[in-house]
Amino acid sequence: MPPFSISDVRLSAVAAAVPAHQVRNGDLDLLSEPEGAAFVKAVGINARRVAPPEICASDLCVAAARRILQVAGVRPEGIGVLVFVTQTPDYHLPGNSMLAQRRLGLPASTYLLDVNQGCAGYVYGLASVASLMSAARIGKGLLLVGDTITRLLSARDRSTLPIFSDAGSATLLERTSAAHPMHFNLGSDGEGADVIYVRGGGAREPFGPESLRMCEEENKVVRAPIHLSMRGMDVLHYTLKYVAPNIKELLAFANADTDTPDYYVLHQANHILNQCLLRRLGIAPEKAPETLLDYGNTSCATIPVTLCRRLGKELAQGEKALVLSGFGAGFSWGSAFISGESILCPELLEIHDPGEC
């Protein structure tokens, strides 16, 4: 679809939460010392957050949502729409949006929607919430975006285990005639459906003994159909093929040039990929903050984690122009150009146990 704008909704607050448990890639047996050093240099990930079994995506997102309602001074009954983006829902059904509604005490009239999207999910979620709010004249909406993607990893797969990490987020949007337009540019190429993939455990290949059968794909890449697989070279190829033109097209649509945005908050896929993308677009690396080193690739939550961890104070102080860009499973991609008033961004929350959610 062509780029589009929503002119009466603003992004007013973002919060993110990570599990307190940190795992250092240097402690993994999968990587020798030289391999580990090469990995950190190229991929840029030193440590990751891993949720214990009792913490799910809904817990992390609800903790972030409670924080955001508190700092923004918004009561739960004022929320008219909630969209929950995750690929690691607590249950096959019902969706996480229902679980979050109950725990947050949102009214029965709330429009609830669950979205199965990966690393492009934050931008897809923003576009969905903003569109619904604008079309149905809803005053306030919540976007919850998060994954416990480490649940899907094989402990013997070095192509995924040192990369992925867990996080959840909550974003508050408000309808106001004083909003600056939010511009979106979204796309997908289903030919890349198996680039980032969990084959087993769904309706096509239901869970059974075969789902757990481990198979050595290559040296130190051993996994079962129930585990997440990723072809890194294809991710690089799809990203450079689609995301760089997508951001250029978005900037042109917003009547902006490359220098206009104060920051480019890119999905934190891996360092080398993001550096290639920035170079293609002619963007200075200091305009694209990273959180890969300490938080890894938190799937759909990398953009809100980076907003809170790296830009929180600046966004709270005054108006900034931002390009947000996510890309990944699908293969899907989406970018948003956002400007306007300050954004409330409380410090990243660290969750020790579900009682804090």
């Binding site: 090469a38 190229a42 080398i272």
Partner: protein, 79 residues
Amino acid sequence: MIDVRTFIHNLEGHLSSPVPGGLETGTRLRDLPDWDSLKALIVVASFDWDYGVTISADEYAGAETIRDLYALVSQRIPQ
């Protein structure tokens, strides 16, 4: 048009561990000791970084030697 020696020199610069005896046009990267998918990713990313050329995973897999990679990349370098 980049010459093959410069192509190899650039490639060596991106690989963090030196290759014993250096790379040659007939070198098969995947046969090098300790070669892995991360090094392959670095090589493919370096083509974008150095020349603005992307190649797909299938194209990489179809290139047997450095000579093949050079042929693939050099013809796509924007003039």
